[in-house]
């Protein structure tokens, strides 16, 4: 298995670097450009096969132009093919393509429009994919915890792979749900970020991606032993939501019928997810510190990053989340300015977003300007996430306001 993995990895590297990667990158860019042009300037009254033809035409021309252009460029200036930008974005684009392909597979497997209706959603396929995602998250959580006790064995890598599988299941389940919402009724169709259940699935995926990136970059697998169980805890809440009928596809209330929803909500969850990972890192710090204080020489310690490294991990997670959260809040304000008549209304959700922003802003101040390190910041990261969770779920449960469509 290891040999196969190595071979696969080697194969992957060879098609990801050099001209092949460069050409693929520009093919994607061309495809995206072509489809964007169609989206913004095309008329919407083709319908059916004509729309498909348009999609193929614009997407194909864009992708072809990207491919040929990049190949030509690589031939003329071979040095250009070693593009850093391409290398940086290629894994994300490849991942997105894989996610779309997976969604396509689900669409082929799902029972089709005749079997489901708004009134009866019991045969929808996306909840099944979500359930599979739950299973993989639980598996991953168990594997990551086992990893702490057996850092050299294969369980760690298995934990990482199952986490990636869960991410792909979650992401594709959401894309499938998007498709299904249109399948039920084009009038109802909307991006799957409109209620608590949907955003929970999104949160799991984003938090995992943030974590997995940190893991890959800093080889910090022990962090997963804290992040994945946190996600598993969240899953219980998601299951409870489904039990209460919140898992159903519902049409959008007028306030949510805006393109801003697609931008504002996911970006917010980059913030929430990253702050969750920071909390996990904080817990890891506190845990290791406790072990060290007790004079433990446990093997556990060898599996974990040092206190100093963990402290850095907290910081990295926060700086991934903070700009995203700032931008998300600002875009939320822009949406509010368009929908409610003012960019800021001191609505409970807005106010709590501000509180979260202030809490992490203060965190960054004490760390950067005052040189605080270690335990207080670990505690801060944990407390900050409690505040974040209240902003995310608590406000909807306990306070009323303009964001009440996310209520329970």
């Amino acid at each position: 298995m290891t040999a196969l993995a190595t071979a696969l990895h080697g194969g992957w590297l060879s098609i990801s670097s050099g001209r092949l990667g460069f050409a693929r990158y520009y093919t994607y860019l061309g495809l995206i450009t072509g489809l964007s042009i169609l989206y913004y300037f095309g008329t919407s009254d083709y319908g059916g096969s004509a729309t498909q033809a348009q999609l193929f035409l614009w997407g194909g021309v864009g992708a072809g132009a990207g491919l040929l252009g990049s190949l030509a460029l690589a031939a003329i200036q071979p040095a250009r093919a070693d593009s850093k930008v391409a290398k940086m974005f290629l894994p994300w684009l490849d991942g997105a393509v894989l996610m779309l392909l997976l969604t396509g597979v689900w669409i082929l497997m799902s029972p089709g429009a005749a079997a489901v209706s708004y009134e009866d959603q019991s045969l929808l396929f996306s909840p099944k994919v979500v359930t599979a995602m739950y299973v993989f998250y639980f598996l991953s959580g168990i594997l990551y915890i086992t990893y702490l006790f057996a850092p050299e064995s294969v369980v760690g890598r298995m934990g990482t792979s199952t986490a990636w599988v869960a991410v792909y299941l979650g992401g594709s389940a959401l894309l499938l749900r998007w498709y299904e919402s249109y399948m039920i009724d084009p009038e109802i169709g909307h991006a799957p970020v409109s209620n608590l259940f949907e955003v929970f699935v999104l949160l799991f995926a984003i938090a995992s991606i943030v974590y997995l990136c940190l893991e890959r970059r800093f080889n910090a697998r022990a962090l997963g032993s804290f992040v994945m169980p946190m996600i598993c805890g969240g899953i219980f809440f998601a299951i409870w939501l489904q039990g209460g009928g919140h898992g159903e596809i519902k049409p959008l209330v007028p306030a949510l019928q805006s393109y801003w929803m697609k931008i504002h909500v996911p970006l917010n969850f980059v913030g929430y997810g990253a702050f969750g990972v920071a909390c996990g890192a904080g817990l890891l710090y506190l845990f290791r510190e406790k072990l060290e204080r007790g004079g433990s020489k446990a093997r556990l310690l060898s599996a974990m990053p040092t206190l100093e490294q963990t402290d850095d991990l907290i910081y990295y997670a926060v700086i991934i989340g903070y700009p995203a959260f700032t931008l998300a809040t600002i875009l939320g304000a822009a949406w509010a300015a368009e929908a409610w008549g003012g960019y800021w209304s001191w609505d409970p959700k807005e106010t709590w977003a501000l509180i979260v922003w202030l809490v992490y802003g203060a965190f960054l101040h004490v760390r950067i300007s005052h040189g605080w390190r270690g335990r207080p910041l670990a505690l801060w990261a944990v407390a900050g996430f409690v505040v974040t969770l209240f902003c995310f779920v608590g406000v909807n449960m306990y306070l009323s306001g303009l964001h009440s469509y996310g209520s329970l």
Binding site: E119, V253, D312, T351
Partner: protein, 568 residues
């Protein structure tokens, strides 16, 4: 003059101190929480009821009922602004100086303090080493200087990172200024315009009291529509508005939620809607045995009295009432049960009772059976206590109404001697049947009997002498518009853009500085390689290790000297 400056100096220092900034951030965060827990800008009487006299006074003095506009909250923001300004004023010049400083020379002591450091003996001449290093660091901004026989290479990445400090903090100032301009020179308020009506005055809350503002034009609402999904959820609220400026119709446009219209810098938003006093035709079914049905014209929000002290205040008209009639876990079944009128009954010695009266009888979904009219009634007058109140027969059917009245009248007659209650009941119903139907009796007598019987039992407990049903209506909506003008908004967007770019710059492009200090030695040269990064050590650890590895390959290193000095 000097003395005054001397006194102000400590204050000035304190204002710009970071500690203070953190305290303000935390205090602001905690203060903001209060306003989310305590509902803001509600009716004062409601607060009084909720908190009692003493607490009401305390909370009111602190301005907590509208705390985001209270003097102390504004004061906090002003304090934050001042602190930010002083902080910028004090720190910016030094930072800019530091950014512009290009000297490459670093003294031995400073070099020793650097954590990421490596010392090598090279089998190369200084000049070769410098050349190769420059080649390797071609992505970096390089600055080479010779000083006292040694060659210093300084390489920078993210040199301007420190400007992000200035950008981020200045951007928050800009946002605050934009906000202030909006509060001072803008307005934001609501106006309700009935269909066909014209409005030009918005109202809003200012310091707990209501205030108004005249718009520079008039708005006419030509039409208001609501579109529903099959499940009864609202799908779209749409107002067709005409702007009348100086008596001339200048603009006619539809607005929906998320798509406001803009005229003369004022934006008009679809914010709410309601009934503008629709015309109703109500039917009073008198329960005094006379069988009298009275047509009464009414208006939503109007009050009807009959002189006896009992009065009815009509509160709302709901034309669509979609309910899900499926069992839990089954496929949903949405049915519109028809228009309803809502009213409150008040009378001497009577708790106000809230009633929703549906104008159509309820038809059983399984067998299409007419289950008769029903009401939703809250005897406590609380929204949460509504309960279903089925009458049992169809009030709009003249026969059933007549049968009910005849039965009730017969039942009220004295019981003939020797007869049981049950007999009396039966006789009364039989007589009523004869009275109403004569020889042409319907097929469903037993079922009809049960329903009429049930209605009699139910209505016996009703403490008012009539039933009120909605007969016909002519609905008029008003559209609830929000009108805003915010001259500070673009400033806020500019500040926001700078903020986000500044944050990304601040965090993702840390300032990394490398030094290579070459000095000639017996065999060739000695070089110290050192690097610092202003934030994010783990990332720099990796970058430094990579560079060190590259140098090891490129520079001809004397193996003896390689591990002389180990990095920490």
């Amino acid at each position: 003059m000097n003395a005054a400056v001397f006194k102000l100096k400590p204050l000035f220092d304190r204002l710009g101190a970071m500690n203070l900034a953190i305290v303000i951030l935390i205090v602001l965060a905690i203060a903001s929480m209060i306003g989310t827990v305590l509902k803001q800008s509600q009716e004062m009487s409601g607060y009084y009821e909720q908190f009692g006299a003493l607490w009401f006074w305390v909370i009111n003095v602190l301005g907590l009922f509208d705390m985001y506009h209270a003097w102390w909250f504004t004061g906090l923001l002003v304090f934050l602004t001042m602190s930010l300004s002083v902080c910028l004023w004090r720190n910016s010049p030094g930072m800019i100086k530091e950014i512009l400083a290009k000297h490459s020379v670093i003294n031995e002591r400073a070099l020793k303090r650097i954590q990421h450091r490596q010392h090598w003996q090279l089998n190369l001449a200084v000049a070769d080493g410098v050349e190769k290093s420059k080649e390797l660091l071609k992505d970096w901004t390089l600055n080479v200087q010779e000083h006292k026989g040694r060659t210093f290479i300084r390489a920078d990445k993210g040199r301007y990172n420190k400007t992000s400090y200035i950008f981020v903090h200045a951007s928050i100032l800009i946002i605050l200024i934009g906000g202030l301009v909006g509060v001072q020179y803008g307005f934001r308020g609501n106006l309700a315009v009935p269909e066909g009506g014209v409005g030009d005055t918005i109202s809003f809350l200012k310091g707990g009291a209501s205030a108004t503002h005249q718009l520079p034009f008039e708005v006419r609402c030509n039409d208001f529509f609501i579109d529903f999904y099959a499940s009864g959820m609202p799908k779209e609220f749409r107002s067709n508005l005409t702007i009348i400026d100086d008596g001339k119709e200048v603009l006619t446009q539809d607005i929906i939620v998320n798509e406001p219209l803009e005229y003369k810098g004022v934006r008009l938003y679809q914010a709410s809607f309601g009934d503008a006093g629709s015309d109703l035709k109500l039917k009073f079914y008198h329960l005094d045995g006379s069988g009298r049905i009275e047509d009464v014209p009414a208006k939503v929000y109007g009050t009807l009295g009959d002189g006896s002290g009992l009065n009815i205040e009509v509160t709302d008209l709901k034309v669509f009432n979609v309910e899900n009639f499926a069992e839990e876990g089954q496929a949903k079944e949405f049915i519109d049960i028809g228009p309803a009128v809502e009213y409150v009954l008040r009378g001497p010695g009577l708790t106000p009772v809230m009633v929703k009266a549906f104008s159509q009888p309820f038809i059983n979904t399984v067998d299409d059976r007419n289950m008769g009219h029903f009401f939703m009634i809250s005897f406590s007058g609380q929204e949460r206590d509504y309960q279903s109140f089925p009458i049992g027969f169809d009030l709009t059917s003249p026969e059933e109404w007549a049968l009910f009245n005849a039965f009730r009248n017969n039942l009220a007659l004295p019981i003939q001697p020797g007869k049981t209650d049950q007999d009396h009941n039966f006789d009364a119903f039989a007589a009523a049947l004869d009275e109403v139907y004569g020889d042409d009796k319907p097929d469903n007598i037993p079922e009809l009997g049960t329903r009429i019987q049930q209605a009699t039992m139910t209505l016996r407990d009703v403490p008012w002498p009539f039933l009120v049903l909605l007969d016909d209506f002519d609905q008029h909506y008003y559209t609830g518009l929000q009108a805003t003008n915010d001259p500070g908004m673009n400033t806020v967007w500019i500040g926001s853009t700078i903020l986000v770019i500044g944050l990304c710059f601040m965090f993702y492009m840390p300032h990394r500085r490398l030094w290579l200090v070459f000095s000639p030695a017996d065999k060739g040269a000695e070089v110290t390689f050192a690097g610092v990064c202003n934030r994010g050590h783990m990332g720099f650890d990796q970058e430094f290790s990579r560079l060190r590895a590259s140098f090891t390959q490129v520079l001809d290193i004397d193996q003896e000297g390689q591990h002389k000095e180990v990095t920490s």
